[in-house]
C-alpha cells in the first residue's frame, strides 16, 4: 500500500504576528502559507491558521501532519498541538542554509528581537559555522522601536512603504533605547523637521545601532540576507542597510565582489516573512517520524477556551487592584479629579487674568487665572509639532471661553513653561519662562497648604519634588528612561485596544494580577508577553501594570526606600492621575509605607504646570508693575514662518547642524527669531560678529568663574613639566642589591654604584619613537606621569600623541569594533583606538599604542582598604586588544605594537619593575634610566595635583569671602572628558558658579581640620582624609574619592554638589545611598546625573540644570541673607550692650542717691580725680604757668619728650629716609605703603 502524503507545518509565533507554512515532506516545497497580526491573541490567531489549514487540506487527517513551532510566543502551543519547539535563530539558520546556501550573513528584525547570523567558514574544515547573536534584554533596534516611532511621526503606512532613503538630511536620533529614540523623534517633529527626514534618520540610527552592537564587533560576510517585517516592508530601511554595510566593508578593508550591485549583495527575499516557520520544518525533517505529531484541532480549541475563560491561574499571582465594588466607589470619591466648570460671566463683564501655558512633549495646556488666583478657563490640545501654532490655538480657545459669554477679556500677563517656553518667551515676550519643576511646585503649593511631596507623572517624564518650608528641597526626575511614566500605561492599553479612559474600570475588574518585575519599560513588555502566555487576561495585566507603576516611580526612578522620612502630605499630579487605576495604586503604595499619609490628587492635575506658570506670572507682573506680553490678540494673530533648509544651516563647524528658524512677526511690529536644532552654542548665532561676542563672553567666564574640571582635563595631557636631566653614565648612586644567601634566603644590602646609561644609538632611536595613548579612563588621572616618564627618557614631547577628547563623531566613527556593551567611558575606548589608528597614525606613523591596564590608581584618601581601579576600566585595554586583532590585526598591519601591560600606582617600587619590564627592551633603556624617568613621572604627577589644589583653594576662599557658592563635581576622573560629561558644567559656569573638581579641593590636613574637627574630636576618623566613618568597604579608589568629596561638601557651607555617574557604573552603584545619606543629613544642595551615556538627553538635562540653578540661586541668596542677618545680629547686640551699659550707669547713679555713705565716698574720690586733672603738670619741661614767663631766657630744665600720639595716623612721623632697604648695593627708601604695613 502506498504511503499517504505527509505534510509538515511550521508555525512562527512572534511578538506581533503569527506565520504558518505547510511544507510537502517529499519535495520540501511550501504549498500553503499565511500570516496574521495577532494583537496579543497569539493562541487564537494560531487556532485560526490551523482551522484554515484543516479546511484547505480537509481530505487529510491530523496524523498526516507534523508540527514544528518557533518564535517567542510558541512554547505554550507545544502541548496542545503535539508540536516540537525549535528556537527561532536555529530555525532561521536552517531555512537560510536550505534556501540561500551562498549567504554569508542574515539580519532579521522582528517585533521585539533583532538577530544577526554570520556563517563563518572554518579555516581548517572549510565548513560554515553559524555565529548567532540576538538582543537578549533590550528592544533597541527592533521592529518595536520602529513601530513606536512611526506612530509619533504620524506618517501613513502606505507613505512609509514608499519612502526612499536620503543620507543627505539626517538628524540625530539615539537608537540605543527605543525610549530615547522616541524622545528624539518627538523633538525633531517639534522642531519642524519633515517626516521623511525623521524616518530616514530613525532608519539610519537603527541600522547603526545594530551594526555597532548586535554584530558584536564582527564584520558581516556577503551576501547579506535581510529578513523580518521591517526589513521586508520598508524600502528605506533596506537602502540604509545597503549603504552602511558597504561603508563598513570599505572601512575595514573587507574584500567583497565589487562587481555586484548593492541589491545583489544585500538581498531581501520574496518570502522573507516565512523563514523561521520554514526553518522549523527543516529542523523537523531531521527528527524521528513520531516527533511533532499533530494532535488535531480539538486540543488547541480546548486550550483557546481555557484562555478565554480566564481559568488559567498562576499560584503566585498577586492581589487584585481593588477588593470589592465598594472600594471602587471610594476610589472615585477620593481620587477622581473633579470636573472643571468654567467660570460663568454676564455679558459686559470685564475679566482681568493672566495666562499660563505648558508646552509639553505630547500635549500643550493653557489656563486663564484671575487676579485672585482662581482658574477661570482651561484649554488643551495634542501638540502638533509647532509650538507657535499650538500657542495660537490654545489662546484662541481660552479667549472664546470668555468672549462667547459676552464678557471682555484683558490679559494682564503671560507665563510659559515646558518645552515651548523658550520660543514663547522670545516670540510673544512672555513675562515668565519657568522650568516645569518649579511651575509644578508653585501649582501644588497654591492648592494645598501642607505639601511634603509632589509626584508628577506625565506622558514622558516623572518629576518628584520634595518640599521644605514651601520650597523645593530636593527633586528627582526620570532621566532617559520611560519606566513609570504615563506612556507605559497608554501603550499597554493600546496593545489591548482599551481606550485609556476605560483603563481603570478594566483593571478594577481583575480578581488577581500578575507580578511584574519593575524597571525598564521594555522588560515590562517582555513580562507582559510571558504573562499573556501564562493565560493572564487583559484586565489582570492592566491591573498588574498599574500596580508596578508606583514601584517604578519610587524604587526605580526616585530611589527612596524610607518614604516616611519625606513627610506625610503627598500631592499627585500630571495627566496620568486621571487614570484612577494609577492613582489607586500610587495611594496604596504610599499609604503602606507612610503612616497617616494624606494623598491628594491635584484638582487640575493635567494643567498643574500651566497653573504654576500663571501663578508666577501674577507675582512677577505685580512686582514689576507691568507686563511685557505682546497682548492676547497680537499673540493669536502672530505671523510666523518656520524654516529648515540650507539657509538655516550652521556653518561654524564641520557638524553643519541643520537648524530650524522660527521667525515671528506681531501686528505691533515686534519680530523675533527663535533658533533650534543645533548641537552647540555656536548654533545660537548667525554671524561671525555675534560669534565673536559669544567667544569673548566665554573667555570672560573662564576667568571669572573657573571650571576646574575643564582645566584639569586639559592640563592632564599637556607637557607642563620639564624633566630634570638624566644623570650621566658613571655618576655614583645609592642602590640596594637583592641576592640569595647560602641557605637560599633572599637578602638585601645597600650598595653604591655607577649609574648605567643606554647607548648613544638607543638615545638617538628614542628621539624618533612615536607613542599613541588613548585619552580615556584613568589616564585622566595618570597621564602626567606617563608623559613625563617618556619625556625623561628622551622621547620628544610632540611624539607622545593622545587621541582627541571624546566627541559624538569620534564615537560614531569608531564604535563598530566592540563585542560587548559596557559603560560608555569603557565602550568609547574603541573609538579612541580607532582614532589613533586611522587619524593620528595616518598623519605621522606611530610605533606603539600604549593603553596600560591600570589595576590600582593613586589616591589621597587615607586608611582605605585598597585603591583599585574598576575591573572594567582596568580590563578595557585587554578588550581593545581583542577587538582590534580578532578579525585582522589592525596594529600589525600598520607596524604598530599595542601594549597593555598592568601597572599598579599604589606600589611605587613594583611600578618601577612593571614599567621597566614593559619598556626596557622596546626603548633600549637601562633599569636606572627607567627608574629615574619614573621619579620624574611622579614629580610631574605631584605638580599636577598641587597646581589644581592651589586653584581650588583660591575658588574656595573667594566664595567664602563673598557668601557665594561653588559647585563641587563628584565624578570619576574620566568624566572630566567633555564628551562624557556632555559639557553640563559649562552651563553652570555660564550661570556664574565656579566648578571644583575633587582633585582641586586642598588636601592639606591643617586646612581640612577646620571642616572635620567635630569628626576628629569624636574619634570618628583618624584624619580628615579618612572615610571609614561612612564606608569601611573602601577599596575602589575613584568611588572612595567621590564619597570623601561628598563628606567635604557636606561640611563646607559654600560648596554645593553635582554628582555624575555613567549608566551601568557598577562601582558608583554602592555609593548612591551613602552619598544621599551624607548629603541629606547636611542639607547640602545636590543634583545627581547617574545615567550619563553616549547620547546627550538635552531636554532632560536642560530641566535639571534649570531646576538646580533655581535651587542654587535660592541657596546663594540664603547665604547672603544669612550673612546680612548675622551682621544685623552683631549690630543689634552692640546696640543692646550700649543700652545696657547706659542702664547700668543710671542704676549706679540711682544707688548713689539712696546710699549716703557711698555718695560721700564717690564725692571725695571725684574731687581727688579732679585735682589730678587740674594739676599743672610739666610737659617738655614746662608747666602751663611757665608760659606766662619769658621762656627764651629760661635755662633748659629737662630732656623729657612728649608722649603724645600723632593726631593723624596717615601722616607718618618718621622721616622716610630712616627706613631703607638694600637694592643693588644702594640704600633706597621704602615706599610709604610698605612703611605703613610694617607699622
Amino acid at each position: 500500500m502506498a504511503t499517504k502524503k505527509k505534510f509538515l507545518i511550521g508555525l512562527d509565533v512572534g511578538s506581533t504576528t503569527v506565520k504558518a507554512v505547510v511544507v510537502n515532506q517529499e519535495d520540501r516545497q511550501i504549498i500553503w502559507s499565511d500570516y496574521q497580526r495577532h494583537k496579543t491573541k497569539q493562541v487564537e490567531k494560531s487556532f485560526e491558521l490551523f482551522q484554515a489549514i484543516q479546511e484547505k487540506f480537509s481530505e487529510y487527517s491530523p496524523s498526516d501532519f507534523r508540527v514544528f513551532v518557533t518564535g517567542s510566543g510558541a512554547k505554550p502551543l507545544v502541548e496542545p498541538l503535539g508540536a516540537l519547539f525549535v528556537q527561532e535563530v536555529n530555525a532561521v539558520t536552517l531555512a537560510v542554509e536550505s534556501l540561500y546556501p551562498d549567504v554569508g550573513s542574515v539580519i532579521e528584525l522582528g517585533g521585539q528581537d533583532a538577530k544577526i547570523i554570520i556563517f563563518q567558514p572554518n579555516e581548517k574544515t572549510g565548513e560554515k559555522q553559524a555565529v548567532c547573536s540576538m538582543n537578549d534584554k533590550c528592544a533597541s533596534g527592533t521592529g518595536a522601536t520602529i513601530d513606536k516611532c512611526m506612530i509619533k511621526v504620524g506618517l501613513p503606512e502606505e507613505q512609509v512603504s514608499q519612502l526612499q532613503f536620503n543620507s543627505g538630511k539626517l538628524h540625530k536620533v539615539a537608537a540605543k533605547c527605543g525610549v530615547f529614540a522616541e524622545t528624539d523623534i518627538v523633538n525633531l517633529i517639534k522642531s519642524g523637521i519633515p517626516s521623511n527626514e525623521v524616518m530616514c534618520s530613525l532608519g539610519d540610527a537603527i541600522v547603526s545601532q545594530n551594526l555597532s552592537v548586535l554584530t558584536r564587533g564582527n564584520t558581516l560576510l556577503h551576501k547579506v540576507l535581510l529578513l523580518g517585517g521591517p526589513n521586508t516592508y520598508l524600502p528605506f530601511l533596506q537602502q540604509t542597510w545597503r549603504l552602511r554595510i558597504i561603508e563598513t566593508w570599505q572601512q575595514r578593508g573587507y574584500k567583497y565582489p565589487t562587481e555586484l550591485s548593492p541589491e545583489e549583495l544585500i538581498i531581501t527575499p520574496d518570502n522573507a516573512l516565512y523563514f523561521a516557520a520554514f526553518g522549523a520544518v527543516m529542523y523537523g525533517l531531521d527528527e524521528p517520524e513520531h516527533v511533532g505529531q499533530y494532535k488535531g484541532l480539538s486540543e488547541l480549541e480546548k486550550f483557546v477556551e481555557e484562555q478565554r475563560s480566564g481559568n488559567m491561574r498562576k499560584a503566585n499571582s498577586g492581589p487584585a487592584l481593588v477588593q470589592n465594588i465598594t472600594e471602587v466607589g471610594d476610589i472615585k470619591v477620593n481620587y477622581s479629579v473633579p470636573p472643571f466648570n468654567k467660570v460663568q460671566y454676564n455679558p459686559g463683564d470685564h475679566v482681568r487674568a493672566v495666562i499660563g501655558l505648558d508646552g509639553g512633549s505630547t500635549s500643550s495646556k493653557a489656563v486663564l487665572v484671575s487676579e485672585a488666583g482662581d482658574i477661570i478657563a482651561k484649554a488643551y490640545k495634542l501638540s502638533e509639532g509647532n509650538p507657535i501654532a499650538d500657542m495660537k490655538d490654545l489662546l484662541q480657545k481660552l479667549k472664546l471661553q470668555i468672549t462667547d459669554q459676552g464678557a471682555t477679556l484683558e490679559v494682564i500677563g503671560f507665563g510659559a513653561t515646558g518645552y515651548a517656553a523658550d520660543v514663547l518667551e522670545e516670540s510673544i515676550a512672555a513675562d515668565v519662562n519657568i522650568v516645569e519643576t518649579v511651575a509644578h511646585m508653585m501649582s501644588a503649593v497654591h492648592f494645598f497648604k501642607n505639601v511634603d511631596v509632589i509626584c508628577d507623572i506625565g506622558g514622558q517624564d516623572i518629576k518628584v519634588l520634595f518640599m521644605q518650608n514651601g520650597d523645593i528641597k530636593d527633586f528627582r526626575l526620570s532621566n532617559q528612561c520611560s519606566a513609570g511614566n504615563g506612556m507605559l500605561l497608554q501603550a499597554m492599553a493600546d496593545q489591548f485596544a482599551v481606550p485609556i479612559t476605560q483603563y481603570a474600570d478594566t483593571a478594577f475588574a481583575a480578581k488577581q494580577s500578575p507580578i511584574f518585575s519593575y524597571g525598564c519599560a521594555v522588560f515590562l513588555d517582555s513580562d507582559r508577553v510571558n504573562f499573556q502566555k501564562e493565560g493572564y487576561t487583559k484586565e489582570e495585566l492592566l491591573a498588574g501594570l498599574a500596580m508596578v507603576l508606583p514601584k517604578n516611580v519610587w524604587q526605580y526612578v526616585v530611589q527612596i526606600p524610607r518614604m516616611a522620612e519625606l513627610g506625610r502630605n503627598f500631592v499627585l499630579q500630571g495627566g496620568t492621575q486621571y487614570n484612577l487605576a494609577a492613582a489607586k495604586a500610587q495611594a496604596d503604595y504610599i499609604k503602606a509605607r507612610v503612616p497617616n499619609a494624606v494623598v491628594n490628587v491635584h484638582p487640575h492635575c493635567g494643567e498643574a504646570g500651566a497653573i504654576g506658570a500663571a501663578i508666577e506670572t501674577l507675582r512677577v507682573v505685580k512686582r514689576r508693575g507691568k507686563s511685557t506680553f505682546i497682548g492676547l490678540d497680537n499673540a493669536i494673530a502672530l505671523g510666523y514662518e518656520t524654516r529648515t533648509d540650507e539657509s538655516t544651516r550652521c556653518h561654524f563647524c564641520a557638524n553643519k547642524c541643520t537648524r530650524t528658524f522660527i521667525d515671528t512677526k506681531a501686528q505691533t511690529g515686534h519680530t523675533s527669531r527663535y533658533i533650534s536644532g543645533f548641537s552647540c552654542e555656536k548654533g545660537t548665532v548667525e554671524s561671525k560678529d555675534a560669534l565673536r561676542v559669544l567667544i569673548e563672553k566665554r573667555k570672560n567666564l573662564k576667568e571669572k568663574y573657573i571650571n576646574l574640571i575643564e582645566y584639569e582635563a586639559r592640563l592632564a595631557f599637556k607637557s607642563f613639566y620639564k624633566p630634570e636631566a638624566m644623570p650621566e653614565g658613571g655618576a655614583m648612586i645609592d642602590d640596594i642589591k637583592v641576592y640569595h644567601n647560602l641557605l637560599g634566603r633572599l637578602k638585601r644590602k645597600k650598595v653604591r654604584r655607577a649609574f648605567k646609561r643606554s647607548s648613544a644609538d638607543a638615545i638617538a632611536m628614542r628621539k624618533k619613537i612615536r607613542i599613541g595613548i588613548p585619552r580615556v579612563l584613568n589616564l585622566y588621572s595618570t597621564a602626567p606621569l606617563f608623559r613625563a616618564y617618556f619625556e625623561a627618557l628622551g622621547i620628544p614631547s610632540s611624539n607622545i600623541c593622545f587621541s582627541d577628547f571624546t566627541s559624538e563623531e569620534m564615537f560614531q566613527e569608531g564604535a563598530k569594533y566592540g563585542s560587548i556593551d559596557p559603560c560608555y567611558p569603557s565602550k568609547v575606548a574603541q573609538s579612541h583606538i580607532h582614532h589613533l589608528l586611522f587619524k593620528t597614525h595616518e598623519k605621522s606613523p606611530l610605533n606603539y599604542i600604549y593603553f596600560p591596564t591600570i589595576t590600582h590608581v593613586p589616591t589621597f584618601v587615607e586608611k582605605s582598604m585598597d585603591s583599585t581601579s574598576c575591573p572594567i576600566v582596568a580590563g578595557t585595554p585587554n578588550v581593545m586588544k581583542a577587538a582590534f586583532t580578532k578579525e585582522k590585526n589592525f596594529f600589525g598591519e600598520r607596524n604598530i605594537e599595542y601594549i597593555d601591560n598592568a601597572v599598579n600606582f599604589m606600589e611605587p617600587n613594583y611600578l618601577k619593575q612593571q614599567m621597566f619590564e614593559t619598556w626596557g627592551k622596546r626603548l633600549g633603556i637601562t633599569e636606572d634610566e627607567s627608574d629615574f624617568a619614573m621619579e620624574q613621572g611622579w614629580k610631574a604627577f605631584n605638580w599636577f595635583t598641587q597646581d589644581l589644589e592651589r586653584r581650588g583653594l583660591e575658588v574656595l576662599e573667594k566664595v567664602e569671602a563673598n557668601n557665594e557658592v561653588a559647585l563641587l563635581v563628584l565624578n570619576r576622573p574620566y568624566h572630566d572628558d567633555p564628551g562624557l560629561n556632555h559639557e553640563i558644567l559649562e552651563e553652570f559656569q555660564a550661570l556664574g558658579y565656579p566648578i571644583l573638581s575633587i582633585r582641586s579641593v586642598p588636601k592639606d590636613h591643617a586646612w581640612l581640620n577646620r571642616w572635620f574637627k567635630q569628626d576628629l574630636a569624636r574619634n570618628k576618623i583618624t584624619s580628615p582624609l579618612d572615610i571609614n566613618d561612612v564606608w569601611p568597604e573602601n577599596y575602589s579608589a575613584n568611588s572612595v574619592q567621590k564619597v570623601w568629596a561628598a563628606k567635604f561638601a557636606a561640611r563646607h557651607p559654600n560648596v554645593c554638589v553635582l554628582d555624575l555617574s555613567s549608566f551601568k557604573c557598577g562601582h558608583d552603584a554602592p555609593t548612591y545611598g551613602m552619598i544621599d545619606d551624607i548629603i541629606k543629613a547636611s542639607k547640602t544642595p545636590y543634583m545627581a546625573l547617574h545615567d550619563l551615556d553616549a547620547n546627550k538627553p538635552a531636554g532632560s538635562i536642560k530641566i535639571r540644570v534649570k531646576t538646580y540653578a533655581y535651587t542654587l540661586m535660592r541657596y546663594q541668596e540664603s547665604l547672603l541673607d544669612r550673612a546680612g542677618r548675622l551682621s544685623e545680629l552683631e549690630k543689634n547686640i552692640a546696640a543692646k550692650r550700649k543700652e545696657l551699659l547706659a542702664l547700668r550707669r543710671a542704676s549706679i547713679m540711682e544707688m548713689l542717691e539712696s546710699d549716703q555713705e557711698l555718695k560721700q565716698e564717690h564725692h571725695t574720690m571725684d574731687a581727688a580725680f579732679k585735682a589730678y586733672l587740674d594739676e599743672d603738670e610739666e610737659v617738655l619741661g614746662l608747666t602751663l604757668s611757665d608760659l606766662s614767663q619769658d621762656l627764651e631766657k629760661r635755662a633748659p630744665k629737662s630732656k623729657k619728650r612728649a608722649d603724645i600720639a600723632p593726631l593723624d595716623t596717615n601722616v607718618i612721623a618718621i622721616p622716610i629716609t630712616q627706613i631703607t632697604r638694600r637694592q643693588n648695593n644702594e640704600t633706597v627708601p621704602l615706599k610709604v605703603a610698605n612703611a605703613k604695613e610694617r607699622i
Binding site: 564582527n218 563585542s819 559596557p822 585598597d866 574598576c870 606600589e907 569601611p1032 561640611r1051
Partner: protein
C-alpha cells in the same frame, strides 16, 4: 521700665537672652549639623553566642547544609537561608541601591525577606531579631561590586527597618574579620572552624559533581535526587555529631552505586562557567540553569567551589612571587613590607597541597572517579596572552583560561558563561576578550548569557540557540563512535 542692671553678670545674661531672642527673630537658631555616619553594628561577643543564631547562605544547597552541620558540630548555632527566589530579588531591589548586580539584589533581598518573615509572620520584635540573629557572609576587598556586598547589606537592613542588625564579614583571604570581636569574639577562629567551612565546601562539591554526572543518564527518573537527599542526611549527621566522615563517605559511595544509568545516549556536555554566584546558585538567580539544561537533554559540567579556593591561593602566590625580588618592599595591599614573602609562598604551597589532598581523598571515598581539579598554573598560562593576570575581579583570567582549555582538550561540547546583567569582570571584560578566543578556536560553542532576574524566556531561548549546535555535535560524535565500534 527697665530692671536695674547692677553688674556685668546681669549685662551678659541680658545680652545672652537678647541674642537668643534676636537669633529666633532673624531665623539664626542654627543647630550644628549632625553629619551622617554608618553605624556598622558588628559586636558579637562570646556571652551572646549561646542565644544567637548565625544566619548564612549563598553557596549551593549542599554546601550550605554541610557547613551548617559542621558548625553545629562545634557548637555554633547556624541557620541557613533558603536559596534566593524572585521575592528575595524584589526585596533586594526595593532596599538596595540602583545599578547593583543581581547577586547583590538576590542575596541581600534574601536576608531582608527572612528578617521580615521573622517580624511579620512570626511576630518577633525588631529588637529581638537584632539581638538574637547575626548574618555572616564572605567579604572581599574588591575590585568588583562583590567587595561592597557588606555595604549593601547594611544599607538594605537600615532601610528595611533593621538598623542595628549585625553583618559579619568572612574575609576569604584573611579569615574572620570582626571589628569589635577581640578576645571576647563569639566565634572560635581556629583551625577547627575553618576546617568546618572547608569540609562543607569540599563535600558539597563532590556530591554536586556526582549528581550532575549521574542524573542525565539515570534510568529511573528521580533516583539520583533521592540518593542525594540520603547522602546529604548521612554526611550532615556525621558532621554535626562529629562521627566518622570516612565511614559516612563509604555509605554514600554505596548509595551512589545503586543509581542505574544508561550512558548509551548522545547528550551534549555543557560546561557552566561565569560569575561565581550566577554559575553556582541553583535557583531563580540563574533561572535554574542547571536543571533547565538537563531538561533540554544536556549533561552539565559545573565549576566546583574548591577550584575557587585554589584560584584564591594562586593569586596570592602569583602576587607574592612577582614582588619577591624588589629592591624595596611596598606598603600597598599586595606589597611585602613587614612580611616574609618566602615564608608566605611556602605556606601557600602547603595549603594548596592540603586542599587538593582533602578533595582527592573524599572524592575517592565517595566514588567520584576521573575528576581532576583545575591546574591553576595551566589556566594562567593559557589565559596570559589575552587577559592580564593582574586584572582581578570575579573569576579574573580563569574564564578565558577555561574556555581555551575546553577548546584545546575538548572538555565540553558547549561552554555557557553565565553572569549577572552588567557583571563587571565577566560581561565587561571576559566577554570582550572571549570574542577573540572564539575566533581563534572556532570549534568552541561559547554562549555568554546575562541574568537580570526577569526575562527568563529570552535567557533560555539564547541558550537553546547554542544548545542546538552542541546537540548536533554530540549526536555526530556519538554516531561516529558507534560506527567506529
Amino acid at each position: 521700665m527697665n530692671q536695674p542692671v547692677k553688674n556685668y553678670v546681669d549685662i551678659e545674661s541680658a545680652i545672652s537672652d537678647f541674642e537668643a531672642a534676636e537669633r529666633k527673630r532673624l531665623n539664626l537658631q542654627e543647630q550644628p549639623v549632625e553629619q551622617w555616619y554608618d553605624p556598622q553594628p558588628q559586636t558579637f561577643t562570646r556571652a551572646q553566642r549561646a542565644t544567637t543564631t548565625i544566619l548564612m547562605g549563598g553557596l549551593t544547597i549542599m554546601q550550605d547544609n554541610f557547613i551548617k552541620a559542621a558548625l553545629c558540630g562545634i557548637g555554633v548555632n547556624v541557620e541557613v537561608l533558603d536559596c534566593p527566589d524572585t521575592k528575595a530579588l524584589h526585596y533586594g531591589k526595593e532596599f538596595g541601591n540602583r545599578g547593583q548586580c543581581n547577586p547583590t539584589y538576590f542575596t541581600v533581598g534574601n536576608l531582608v525577606k527572612y528578617l521580615v518573615q521573622l517580624r511579620d509572620e512570626q511576630g518577633q520584635s525588631t529588637e529581638e531579631i537584632e539581638k538574637n540573629y547575626v548574618f555572616m557572609t564572605a567579604g572581599a576587598c574588591g575590585p568588583c561590586r562583590f567587595g561592597t556586598y557588606i555595604t549593601e547589606y547594611r544599607k538594605a537592613l537600615r532601610d528595611a527597618g533593621f538598623p542595628n542588625f549585625r553583618v559579619l564579614s568572612f574575609q576569604q583571604k584573611e579569615g574572620l574579620n570582626q571589628t569589635n570581636g577581640g578576645e571576647d569574639a563569639a566565634l572560635p577562629l581556629n583551625l577547627k572552624f575553618f576546617m568546618c567551612i572547608l569540609k562543607g565546601c569540599v563535600l558539597g562539591d563532590i556530591c554536586n559533581v556526582m549528581g550532575y554526572r549521574l542524573r542525565p543518564y539515570e534510568i529511573q527518573p528521580g533516583q539520583t535526587d533521592a540518593v542525594l537527599a540520603q547522602v546529604r542526611d548521612i554526611l550532615s549527621a556525621a558532621l554535626s555529631k562529629n562521627t566518622s566522615l570516612i565511614k559516612a563517605a563509604h555509605q554514600c559511595k554505596k548509595l551512589f552505586k545503586t543509581i542505574k544509568v544508561n550512558r548509551n545516549q548522545a547528550k551534549p556536555k555543557v560546561m557552566i562557567i561565569g560569575e561565581f554566584w550566577a554559575m553556582t546558585t541553583e535557583g531563580a538567580g540563574n533561572y535554574h540553569l542547571q536543571r533547565f539544561l538537563e531538561s533540554e537533554g544536556a549533561e552539565v559540567d559545573i565549576q566546583v567551589i574548591t577550584a575557587w579556593l585554589l584560584y584564591m591561593l594562586w593569586t596570592t602566590m602569583h602576587d607574592t612571587k612577582r614582588r619577591l625580588k624588589l629592591r624595596e618592599d611596598d606598603t600597598g595591599r599586595y606589597g611585602l613590607a613587614n612580611m616574609d614573602g618566602q615564608k608566605r609562598i611556602m605556606k601557600l604551597w602547603v595549603g594548596e597541597k592540603i586542599l587538593r589532598g582533602i578533595f582527592k581523598s573524599f572524592a575517592f571515598l565517595m566514588g567520584l572517579k576521573h575528576y581532576k581539579l583545575s591546574d591553576m598554573n595551566e589556566i594562567a598560562r593559557l589565559a596570559k596572552e589575552y587577559y592580564d593576570l593582574e586584572s582581578r575581579g570575579g573569576e579574573g583570567h580563569m574564564e578565558i583560561g577555561k574556555v581555551i582549555q575546553a577548546a584545546e582538550k575538548k572538555k565540553a561540547h558547549m561552554v555557557i558563561s553565565v553572569k549577572p546583567f552588567g557583571c563587571m569582570p565577566s560581561s565587561g571584560v571576559s566577554d570582550g576578550v572571549q570574542s577573540l578566543i572564539t575566533k581563534k578556536y572556532p570549534d568552541v560553542i561559547f554562549c555568554p548569557v546575562e541574568t537580570t532576574g526577569d526575562g527568563e524566556v529570552n535567557f533560555q531561548s539564547r541558550i537553546l540557540m547554542f544548545l542546538f549546535k552542541a546537540k548536533r555535535r554530540a549526536k555526530a560524535e556519538f554516531n561516529g563512535a558507534a560506527v567506529a565500534h
